[in-house]
Amino acid sequence: MKKIGIVLQQFPVPSETFIVTKVLNLIQQGFEVTIFATTKSKHWNNYKMLMNRKDVKNSIVTSVFRFRGSKFIFVFASFVAVLKSFMFYPMMTFRLLRNTIHYSKITGLSTSHQFLHQLMFVGKHIDILHIEFDFQAYGLVELKKFLKCSIVVSGRGSIASTSIPSRFPNFFHHLFSHVDHYHFISQYLLNASILSGLPQTTRISLIEPAIDLSLFCPTERRQNKLIKIVTTGRLVWAKGYEFAIDAIAMVHHVYPDIQYEIIGSGPYKDAVLYAASQHNLINSGVVSLKGEIKREEVANYLQDVDLMLHLALDEGFCNAVIEGQAMEIPVVCSDSGGLPENIENGVTGIVVPRRDARAAADAVIKLIENPALRIKMGKMGRARAIAKYNIHDQGVKFTEMYQSI
């Protein structure tokens, strides 16, 4: 079977559960999987499906940057790693050094940094190197010749949230000229990459992420006195929380019996809290920030939610609204990026213009006033999630993709 290397920053991370399911599935299919992570993850114990999976744990290789916390230890660890590499794989390490020096002239990245990062690939035999986040690809696609492997890169919308393309003018050209197969999770991201100059010759597949439908499954819907509206997502600018709070304030004006909860943590917390307190929604208990909830408990939490709100300003693909649909929750979302593909407008939810609190409020009010429509949209959402985002189909598509390379 083919040997697949999966490159990411950490494994596992709570917001990237789809990768865990994917890896487990690939192992089950008989692929030999190695995971290359930049740093170590602290979240191992949060995953029930990874318990007693020593094989997965052993297949993880981490770079020396996991020691970056302390300067002294980092220098020492790097020294040991370089020495070890030269001792066990002298030729290969030498080739890597040459490769890095050659490419760092082209990419403009620091040679020593690149060499230390790529050191974890020495001595590994891989047929396919899958870089899961395209912002990491710059500086790793150069390994193509060195490892004699095919390069697969996933477009998950992570580039947009970094400053990398603006720092390196050569970014897209360099990336696209090395990638053999580009995987996108939404049509929106595919189109965006074509606009950035993705050549016609690069092979493309569009595989939408799957979710665990047995976990995200509505059991008994608890009845609330208040209409419970929820957003799940990190507290960052891109999620457009300020507009969501404004919309909730407008809804609260008409229907005081609502409750809005936000699941997630992040740097934008002050902005969100302040917006809510300015609208007098904190002390009255209408808006509450619940902080982060473990992945396994999110499904349970969603059991009694009546409505999901997601007014992102910048979103490549939104797992949260898919999970909402799977839980039979109608969704009101903005028309940013991939969101209009993530739900079916008028069927499983309502799409409103982004940055428009009034339109969002109107959509929410429409759903509050019409419980039958909420139930109907919820049921359609579940059906859509089963049809489009099931793990089985995703696994089959990935297997096909890897076999076609």
Binding site: S163, Y268, D270, Y274
Partner: protein, 399 residues
Amino acid sequence: MKIILLVGKFPQLSETFIIRKASGLAQAGHEVLVMSRRRGDKNIWKSFTKNFKVEYLAVEAGPISITDLSWTLYRLLFYSLLFPFRAYKLFQSCSNEGSLKLGFKKYIKYLPFINKNKFDILHAEFLGLGVSYFFLKSFMGINYVTSCRGSDLHLVKISSEEKRENYALTIKSCDMVHCVSDEMRECVHQLTARTQNVIVNRPAVDEASLAYRIETINQIPQLISIGRLEWIKGFDYLLKSYAILKERGLSFQALIIGGGSLYKELKFSIEDLNIQDRVKLTGPVYHNEIKKIIRQADIFVLSSVDEGISNAVLEAMAQEIAVVSTMCGGMPEVISSGIDGLLVPARDPFAMADAITYFLHSPGMRKTMGKNAKNKIEQDFTIARQIQVFENSYKNLLS
């Protein structure tokens, strides 16, 4: 009087009012010492006269330059020897800190104040600093003054219980509280029920910038906004307003001046809203150049969701520029809506778009309101008055 002004970074672009206050007080014959936690941008000095002393503190954590390190070593050696009793007193209170590391950090932090006993007043210019250095009130037995300038106090509402109590304690027990607006005083009252020795001293504009106005004629109306690119300045709402204006077919050019953590996000939004032909982000700009840019503008827009009193708005009003501002913090104390500017509710892009449309349609009204605005600044917001108020209230505190 001998006065210490305690600041976070000095000199700093967004805080030139500290320089003006220090040199104003020094001109009035007082001894002023600015103590700053970090070194700022020296270039800012060029346009100011320096008639007061500046001393840099050793920062307890984080990277430290060679200069700061040698100062700290110098203090450790000589201050401890020259002032043995006070050094011992400080050492004693540090030994209660628990761990050796924490105790040493505290010792380093307060060591620079050990030879400042001749000073009468210590004014922490920002609430956060006031809370952080509150130990000095009892240690030095000095008259401790702290400033509430806006967001620092407003954001206490949403912070943790512990932080709120900490802030309340400082505000309650310091000798004098300086607020930049009546609204701020109300906030102090709400948090601590304190009314004694709470003074309101609004920010001010340099006489020099009032002195002249270049009459510029723009074919296309120029809109400008100034502020750090952070959520508190509400630029997301502003961009939405500009998109509404473009949709209405109005022609204008807008500048947003300032740097900050949301630069990339706002740039994305400008392209996303398809207003890149109307709106430009300049990044950070020097104070002197900001004045030049303000002079060439037709309308100044403040979109903040929170503010004490915006210095930039005062500056614009002094230049006879029509101002559209959100109703936040102390702004209603500066602008009488419809007379010397327009006020709109915060977080309401449509209301803001309407106000700007009104100004775009009537240049006459812009002129009238600009004139009124300048009159108001000349009457109520001059540096001379601001320094007078500080001087008097310091005197009252000492008598």
